[in-house]
């Protein structure tokens, strides 16, 4: 009876440690996928309408639950995309207590977005095909 209990307990411990490892792998993989996806997501959102930093953060939050980015990381990304001339920005001081820096996609950004979208669609289709085969 004791050996059965011990075996069950060991199995439980094993299951917990496996799921923790799986979780870690999922976290690592998610981070890698998000890194590329967030650039595409921001370019796509801003290609439809210009938005200021906080707006962009909230839009990403609302539309892309998978990305679930930390708030502080969106601003550096916007800044980097601006430095790479994929985005342009202008300040709006209409409300002097809350000046807003609006971001919009440049022509260069639109072209990059178009190519990135094609690549993403291809990738998704191929991944889906592989996954279907495995299933």
């Amino acid at each position: 009876m004791y050996s059965t209990l011990l075996r069950t307990l060991l199995k439980e411990v094993n299951t917990v440690s496996m799921s923790k490892k799986t979780q870690e792998e999922l976290d690592r993989w998610s981070k890698e996928v998000k890194r590329g996806a967030v650039t595409l997501a921001i370019l796509a959102l801003l290609s439809k309408r210009k938005a200021y930093g906080y707006e962009a953060v909230k839009l990403l939050d609302a539309k892309m639950s998978f990305l679930a980015l930390e708030q502080g990381t969106v601003y550096p990304l916007l800044r980097r995309l601006e430095q790479r001339e994929l985005l342009r920005s202008e300040w709006d001081y209409e409300d002097p207590t809350k000046p807003k820096k609006y971001y919009a996609v440049t022509d260069e950004g639109s072209m990059a977005l178009s190519e990135m979208s094609k690549a993403w669609t291809n990738l998704s289709r191929e991944i889906q095909a592989v996954l279907t085969e495995v299933e």
């Binding site: 210009k50 906080y54 601003y75």
Partner: protein, 373 residues
């Protein structure tokens, strides 16, 4: 002590972020400030409270990390962690600049660095590595101790270390607009005053031969003040400042040998104003005139130290702006920081911080509902 004023909490937090950002990052601060206000208002259901501000700040995260990610400067340099690269390099540059300024100032008045404390430093310059090592050791002990004391402070409260790093931020702050106006007014005022004939007759013969160069310099200083007043800090104005500082050091080298420049003072003898020979009075009464020369040397020393610092800071900022892709002239800023709270005098007149009453309106017209607390 943490405040209950939400605007103060946000300002304190942004002050901490500023310490870790490179110079000229005011745009980043304003962007983060808007984010924190809007997030705090959203959390507070349209009104910003101390609690909602604190939550917004906590969601934003540790100032070191936020600044480091924002600036994209995050590369570890030697033993210095990425987050500290900006403040540490800034404070090192500040110390080097101040050190250079004092060394040049001292050598101008004939004191060598090895004699600074009344006696020659032994084994100079081989004592330098040992001194550096000892100072670094003391520095690490102090930093370690301060970090231990600061570990329980809230996110909005500056650590002692950040207060020290903050000196680096203030040391390179752009010239304020009123300081620039002061430079202009004082330049014109003193330029006119020291060239008035009834003042010129007070000078020693040696200074009389040179005072016109000082007048020209003062007027050029006034022009520099006007340039900063209208254009703020930009490469052209910084170059003018550096150039004038070089000119002043060259002038100071000559002026220091001239000695105390005023020989006579006006004396009212009951009916008229007459000239009184100050130097003659001291010498005829066997009183040494040397203290006046010391005062003159001290004035020259201080002005040369300031000039060397200006050359140092201007050169550093010009190279920083050039790296950022800026050219010679643009409408620069005046070192002002955007304050969330109305100034004390406005609050005294009954003006409140308006944004606390405002709804958040998004670009697409969506308005955050305002709810009563």
């Amino acid at each position: 002590m943490s405040s209950n004023d939400p605007t103060k909490l946000i300002e304190q937090y942004l002050e901490r972020v500023r310490v870790y950002l490179p110079l000229d990052s005011e745009d980043a601060i304003v962007e983060l400030q808007t984010h924190l206000i809007e997030e705090a208002q959203r959390i507070g259901g349209g009104t910003m409270t101390a609690g909602s501000a604190m939550m917004a700040i906590e969601r934003m995260g540790d100032p070191k990390r936020v600044a480091n990610e924002y600036a994209g400067s995050g590369k570890k340099v030697g033993p210095v962690p990425a987050e500290y690269v900006n403040p540490v390099s800034r404070i090192i540059i500040l110390l080097l600049g101040v050190g250079a300024a004092f060394t040049i100032g001292l050598s101008l008045i004939g004191v060598t660095i090895t004699q600074l404390f009344g006696a020659d430093i032994q084994n100079w310059p081989f004592s330098i590595p040992l001194m550096i090592f000892l100072n670094l050791f003391i520095l690490f002990v102090i930093i370690g101790g301060l970090s231990l004391l600061d570990r329980d402070k809230p996110l909005t409260e500056k650590t002692t270390l950040e207060s020290i790093f903050g000196i680096g931020v203030d040391g390179f702050k752009a010239k304020g607009r009123w300081d620039a106006a002061g430079d202009f007014i004082m330049g014109v005022f003193w330029g006119v005053v020291i060239s008035i004939p009834s003042i010129v007759i007070l000078y020693t013969d040696a200074f009389k031969a040179l005072y016109i160069y000082v007048v020209i310099f003062l007027f050029l200083g006034a022009i520099r003040g006007a340039l900063f007043y209208f254009g703020g800090e930009n490469n052209f104005n910084l170059a003018v400042e550096a150039f004038l500082s070089v000119v002043w050091i060259a002038l100071a080298v000559i002026l220091i040998d001239v000695g105390w420049p005023i020989r006579y003072v006006y004396n009212f003898n009951g009916s008229t104003w007459a000239l009184f020979d100050l130097e003659g009075f001291f010498l005829s009464n066997d009183i040494p005139f040397v203290p006046f020369d010391w005062i003159w040397i001290f004035i020259m020393f201080v002005t040369v130290v300031i000039s060397v610092w200006r050359i140092f800071a201007s050169s550093m900022k010009i190279s920083m702006y050039l790296r950022a892709g800026k050219r010679l002239w643009w409408q620069g800023n005046w070192g002002e920081r955007r304050r969330l709270r109305a100034p004390l005098w406005r609050r005294f007149l009954g003006e409140h911080d308006q944004f606390q009453q405002k709804d958040t309106v998004y670009h697409d017209g969506y308005r955050e509902p305002e709810e009563e607390q």
